[in-house]
Amino acid sequence: MTNLQQHPEPPAELEAEPVVVNLGPQHPSTHGVFRLRVIMDGETIQDVEPIFGYLHRGTEKLAEERSYTQVVTLTDRLDYTAAMSNNLAYVLAVEKLAGIEVPERGMYLRVIAAELQRIAAHLIFVGFSLDELGAFHTPLLYGFRERERILDLFEMLCGARITVSYMRPGGVHQDAPVDFWPALDRFLADMPHYLDELQGLIAENEIVVARTKGLAVLLAAKAINCSMSGPVLRASGVAWDLRKQDPYDVYGRMQFDIPVGANGDTYDRLLVRLYEARQSLRIVAQARKEIPGGPVRTQAPFFIRPPVGEAYGHVEAPKGELGFYLVSQGGISPYRCKIRSPSFINLTALKEMLVGYKVADLVVIFGSIDVNMGEVDR
């Protein structure tokens, strides 16, 4: 048999080649069509290269061809889990540009809609995060069950569930129907229990904690340098929320707290959103109590002709600071429309957050940034 003496010396260290794996664009957990070219050593990630653009629809260019009101319908499709917030950011920019006043009731309705949308978006986020952690769709379906209530409310408000096109420069297109308010009260009464249940299912679960605590810590300085915003930034310990720092509509009158994470890890990013949903409930309840009567919309003409100039309107969208920068040359459509999408900018630190972790962590970390490809590729 083999002569051991003649056997060639094994190399001092076994040579191993890094493997290139394409995660996406067709992968179960890339939140749409996102491609990550991952270079791995075994299971450990050495390098990542994100590749975007699969969902590019040219929203910014399309906006230049449409009148100011028509663009509202395009904004629905940016972050399709948070259409109300997109509407709001856009109409704020137009109102600034054209100097349109908004009636009180309109502002309150917009705040209610935007906060409900935030709850819905966070429910989706929590569900999908847990799905990526491997819980077999249960939290996801619970989240969707509760989000359904919110979508029902949207249907009452504006006749659509996802692509709402609810807001118009100068308010909202229509007042809420009479049966909306009792339904909202029922929702406000039920929702805290739902959130308790969801939190009970995941927040203290040892496996969730073991998987996410200390994972992909994003330091506050780094987050600020990368221009991150929204829950990702707040989880890193920076109490930055545009609803407080630059209160638009009637947020200045609302009492609410900002959940802030201590560690900036994936767990904090998860929990901050759960807590934020509760704060949103508080805001909705206050707005519901304080809402005055009156008109909901300034009768701005359909074809608005703002003066020559530029304006930037931004809101605290569920995923971070969503801003619309509009340039007007006096025409009926914006000369230039630039969208500052939180999802895209929050991806800046993706590589630093991923390198050194395992594939199983990759999807969790990527999910914890909560991107939406409709918004990243625009």
Binding site: T73, L74, T138, L157, G159, S165, Q174, D175, N205, E206
Partner: protein
């Protein structure tokens, strides 16, 4: 906090849900209620009300409403009216934003409440004028506060005649009145 308490809590949550009634319904047999405001397909269009002004076509962000009119002096309406030859809505591209309905100054176009317009060919998705004329008139109350004020529900099966959807507070003129006005003006 001992280890396992969190998992036990989670197990209890799922166990509670096991004995709850499921949230899903079996769709074709059982339907969830829709709000009267639901913006859906099969637009409701009243030929009697439409003047052929094409505001709807102009306001549509996608430009998918095709209107062809020809002048017609024979109409005994208030003022001159165009005869509509083509009124096509290309539902395949429509996003049900409702801007066309918002734009219509004469309350001639309304959203519908359906959502089941599956077809095998794209061309079949276009709603032509004949279909719009003959379809049962069950307008959605979206952007039509006058319908909402009446408590109209498109799902009750009731249809609304063209006189009933006006936003004008005064009563619509009768045919005789309109005829006489037209004669006066001539």
């Amino acid at each position: 906090m001992t280890y396992g308490a969190g998992i036990a809590k989670g197990l209890m949550v799922t166990m509670r849900n096991l004995f709850r009634k499921p949230t899903t319904v079996q769709y074709p047999e059982e339907r969830l209620p829709q709000h009267p405001r639901f913006r859906g397909e099969d637009f409701v269009w009243y030929e009697e009300r439409c003047t052929g002004c094409a505001s709807c076509a102009k306001y549509c962000p996608l430009g998918i409403i095709k209107i062809v009119t020809s002048p017609s002096g024979t109409q005994t309406q208030e003022g001159e009216k165009y005869r509509l030859e083509v009124f096509d809505i290309d539902i395949a591209r429509c996003m049900f934003c409702g801007l066309c309905v918002e734009a219509c100054p004469y309350d001639a176009l309304h959203m519908g409440s359906g959502f089941e317009r599956g077809r095998y060919a794209r061309n079949d998705l276009t709603i032509h004028i004949d279909e719009l004329k003959s379809a049962p008139k069950r307008p959605s109350t979206w952007f039509r506060p006058q319908l909402e004020a009446k408590g109209y529900d498109p799902f009750s099966g009731e249809t609304v005649p063209w006189q009933g959807v006006s936003r004008a507070s005064k009563n619509d003129p009768t045919k005789e009145e309109m005829d006489s006005r037209w004669v006066e003006r001539q």
